[in-house]
């Protein structure tokens, strides 16, 4: 760390009298000392010689995949690496204060008042023990020395500003009493309390449903326009960047790959990495190349399916209303097709998927698979049909037993079905590993030695080892980076082609679903809202909910994004706020 403050804060190409930047980063390098033993102790350079500037009122989107160093950068802007083992070098100046040389006292005064930050997970980012209002007031008082009353009034004021209805009443609610979107609004309100000049938002919408995401992004844009604060938005999602940012900085492995206006980068990326990245983004407005004529032969039919989770309790005198996770859903899966099931969180799509493979027993309704009515079959009778219906799970971490080699995990279904020939098992598994893009030598490795995408490939291999007729994929790519996502989607498509699989693809991501599916079913509150072939559904949705969903999807196109935002605003005015309050 250098002791001399930077003399020239604006290197780079000469521009016509740029305003004094509110934020400037010069040669930022962040290293984490390696933890662990012997050879593994090498330091990890998370950010490498990063430099950028942000004009007052500007909006910069920092985009990158996981491990690109984008979050470490965001934290460094507030000096949050202080007191941790991380080594930070380079210069950061925020509103005239040099973060790298300031005393702890100065930094503390800066944080929250001139530069504020909003985090990814709004629930864990708020102290569960204190009311939202208290937490906002606390920050306000810490920086202004205001009295209790004044601070509380300020809290109500900012909560109202971020669109919390009845802010005066809600001010005393604790974070868990808020829905996800409201929590993020509250966090933004906290950021607003002292009217900062810069707001850093680290993946502020990643944990939110698509409709809520749209609202939060709109809010950020509005606030920026109203207060003139600058915005640093860290995200993995080009759609989000397009919605909010003026400038884009693309990061890879700690370095800036490309930096420029959003409109230019999103439409005409120059760096090869940016190109790959953007091309990997599934576009909701891009139709999937048409395939052969759809089959009409029904492989799986679901009729009036219900799944109610009982309110827990043995001796309860009065039964609580059950949670109706799936509430009368009917659909059919045709042989050889790829059916997409879309819905927001809580729509019942995962429950439905699990019932399709008999991991859950329906409360009522019928499931007919390949002509056989599976309803209420005992486990023993069910087992033969199980091998025909397999599943790929969402979380590539949780779906593999960490204590068994991946080969064993893939081989387990064979063994469970009585295969005893060790040679043949190994051969089958190895072939399969190769088929999903892994190496045969991976057989004896443990899951933690693999990346997320690789683990998902292992999961797919395991689902295929019994040569099933139907594979239900439950959010198979939502935990993956965008490039990996594209690879896995391609793999699924290829395998389907090769093996003649029938695929059910469950996802919250309408764009992904469009890339994969022949037909799409939209779910909401446990019911099927709309069901149509993909083309029709995306171009001409009939149900208003489908339309809302489609409108909310961020598109990596700033112009389109602006249009959409205007549309949403009008509709919102008409509809009032439609954010559902989760319990």
């Amino acid at each position: 760390m250098t002791n001399t403050p930077p003399v020239d804060l604006a290197p780079g190409p000469a521009k016509p009298a740029p305003p004094e930047p509110i934020l400037s980063v010069n040669g930022l390098t962040i290293e984490f000392p390696g933890r662990g033993r012997g050879a593994e102790t090498a330091t990890v350079r998370a950010v490498d010689e990063l430099s950028f500037e942000l004009a007052p009122g500007g909006a910069l989107g920092i985009v990158g995949e996981s491990g690109s160093g984008k979050s470490a950068t965001a934290l460094a802007l507030l000096g949050l690496h202080r007191g941790t083992p991380a080594r930070v070098t380079g210069e950061i100046t925020v509103d005239g204060t040099a973060i790298h040389t300031a005393t702890d006292q100065e930094i503390r005064r800066l944080r929250g008042s001139r530069i504020a930050m909003v985090f990814q997970d709004p629930l864990s980012s708020l102290d569960p023990y204190y009311s939202v209002g208290d937490q906002i007031a606390e920050v306000y008082r810490a920086h202004t020395g205001a009295g209790r009353r004044a601070a509380r009034d300020r809290a109500i004021e900012v909560l109202d500003r971020v669109g919390i209805a009845e802010a005066a009443r809600r001010v005393d609610a604790r974070p868990h009493e808020f829905s996800g979107g409201m929590r993020q609004r509250a966090l933004i309100a906290m950021a607003l309390a002292c009217e900062p000049r810069v707001l850093v938002a680290d993946e502020p919408t990643t944990a939110l449903d698509v409709t809520v995401q749209a609202q939060i992004l709109d809010l950020l844009s509005d606030l920026r326009a109203d207060t003139g604060m600058a915005l640093v938005l860290v995200t993995h999602d080009f759609g989000v960047v397009a919605a909010v940012a003026d400038d884009v900085l693309v990061m890879k492995e700690g370095r800036a790959v490309e930096h420029g206006p959003a409109t230019r980068i999103l439409s005409r990326p120059e760096a090869p990495y940016t190109k790959t990245l953007i091309s990997a983004v599934p576009r909701i407005d891009t139709p999937r190349p048409a395939r052969g004529a759809p089959s009409t032969d029904v492989l799986l039919r679901v009729e009036q399916l219900h799944k109610h989770f009982p309110a827990p309790g043995g001796f309860a005198l009065r039964r609580l209303p059950a949670l109706r996770a799936v509430d009368g859903a009917s659909l059919e899966v045709r042989r050889g097709e790829a059916l997409g099931i879309v819905g927001e969180s809580g729509s019942g799509k995962t429950t439905l998927a699990r019932m399709m493979v008999s991991l859950l027993e329906p409360t009522s309704g019928r499931i007919v698979f390949d002509g056989e009515d599976l309803t209420a079959l005992p486990e023993r009778r069910l087992r033969p049909s199980r091998r025909d219906r397999q599943m790929v799970f969402q979380d590539p971490v949780a779906s593999l037993n960490p204590r068994r080699t991946v080969g064993e995990s893939v081989a387990e279904p064979l063994r469970a079905h009585g295969e005893r020939d060790e040679q043949s098992i190994r051969r089958t598994v190895r072939q399969l590993l190769e088929k999903v893009g892994l190496e045969t030598a991976h057989y004896d490795r443990f899951p933690h030695e693999f990346s997320g995408g690789q683990r998902q490939r292992i999961g797919i291999a395991r689902a295929l080892v019994l040569r099933p007729k139907l594979v239900v994929c439950d959010e198979p790519v939502s935990a993956l980076d965008v490039t990996t996502q594209a690879q896995v989607i391609r793999l699924l498509a290829d395998l389907r082609e090769q093996l003649g699989l029938t695929l059910v693809f469950v996802s919250h991501d309408l764009a992904v679903v469009r890339q994969v599916s022949d037909r799409v079913v939209v779910m909401r509150h446990g019911q099927v809202v709309e069901s149509a072939d993909a083309e029709t559904l995306y171009t001409n949705p009939r149900h208003p909910y489908t339309r809302t969903l489609l409108d909310a999807v961020p598109v990596p196109d700033p112009v389109l994004a602006r249009e959409r935002r205007a549309q949403r605003k009008t509709r919102a005015l008409a509809q009032q706020r439609l954010e559902p309050r989760l319990t």
């Binding site: 800066l110 929250g112 930050m117 980012s125 102290d127």
Partner: protein, 334 residues
């Protein structure tokens, strides 16, 4: 996570507790029935003829089948029971645990006289062990990796390796015999003389504290470190709150919450009688009552203390759950 209404939860836990206590009482009764010792002979004394023993057996209803005796025992708890004192009859109001075979005292009064002692021991001990344990844990966490932390960790582990009876005896020997800083422990009730009460309990408290504080220190340390790693602490830092405020207001609150539940869970068994501590210090509490009555096959007392001790453990667990729900806004009752 959906939550149950409090009343339903309580009712359910209560029913569960009653079932558990019933099973527990059946086991205690059954076991003592299997004992080779005949309570009637113990009541009658060593020089009794078989006829005398039979008469005593009849007088105390010990000649009835075990299930009848058990039923009377249960019924008395719920509805009270009439007892013949010889010249007249007394009613023992519910919850009536009967009369001690050994002293002829009403078991209820024995429990009532033992309970304050055990309660004094437990509550004082709990205050002490919590204070020390939590204090040490916090200090250790905030000075992580330094000498103070390592010393504390070592001491904490060492104290878990001490059997309570050895620890208690050493404390007596050290403070009463060698140093003579304290008089030999002799329990005085708080109503009689609060100063002597406290004085008589210092060493028992210290014993419990030394045995338990270790656990709390370790958990506090872990919990504080963990909470300091939580996102909302990062938020507090990102909003410029002072480090002291962050630790005092945000980290400790979250870190200490689970300990409240743990405290409730730990207090339960001690309330049921810290057998070794009470024995060594001669505290006339439930634990001592229990050991004494087991030795003399004083079934009414054994049954009552066992039930009470079991009830404390169960209630403590319920209390722990309730506290957890009350304190942690994120929790819901399952």
């Amino acid at each position: 996570m959906r939550s149950l209404p409090m009343a339903t939860f309580l009712l359910r836990r209560l029913l569960g507790a009653i079932v558990t206590l019933l099973v527990l009482s059946v086991i205690v009764y059954g076991l003592f029935y299997l004992l080779p010792t005949d309570p009637a002979r113990m009541i009658c004394g060593p020089r009794c003829s078989p006829q005398d023993v039979a008469a005593v057996s009849r007088a105390y209803g010990l000649d009835q089948p075990i299930y009848v005796q058990y039923w009377h025992f249960l019924a008395a708890i719920v509805a009270g029971r009439d007892y013949s004192t010889g010249p007249s009859t007394v009613h023992c109001g519910a919850p009536c645990f009967g009369y001690s075979f050994e002293t002829g005292q009403s078991v209820d009064s024995l429990l009532l006289s033992a309970l304050p002692v055990t309660a004094s021991l437990t509550l004082g001990g709990a205050v002490l062990w919590t204070t020390f344990g939590v204090g040490a844990g916090i200090a250790s966490a905030l000075r992580r990796g330094r000498l103070a932390d390592k010393t504390l960790t070592g001491l904490v582990l060492a104290s878990t390796a001490l059997p309570p009876f050895v620890l208690a005896l050493f404390l007596i020997l050290l403070f009463c015999a060698y140093l003579q800083w304290l008089p030999f422990p002799n329990y005085v009730s708080i109503g009689d003389d609060p100063v002597q009460w406290a004085q008589s309990l210092i060493l028992p408290w210290a014993t419990l504290a030394l045995l338990q504080a270790a656990n709390y220190a370790r958990l506090t340390r872990t919990s504080v470190l963990e909470t300091l790693n939580e996102d909302h602490i990062r938020t507090a830092r990102a909003y410029g709150l002072s480090e002291r405020r962050i630790v005092a207001r945000h980290a400790l609150r979250g870190a200490l919450t689970p300990l409240v539940s743990l405290l409730a869970v730990d207090v339960g068994p001690v309330l049921g009688g810290a057998v070794f501590t009470e024995s060594v210090f001669g505290l006339p509490g439930l634990g001592k009552l229990l050991v004494g009555s087991v030795a003399t096959v004083d079934l009414p007392v054994v049954g009552a203390v066992a039930l009470l001790a079991g009830a404390f453990v169960i209630l403590a667990n319920v209390a722990a759950d309730l506290l957890y729900v009350a304190i942690d806004p994120r929790a819901s009752i399952r």
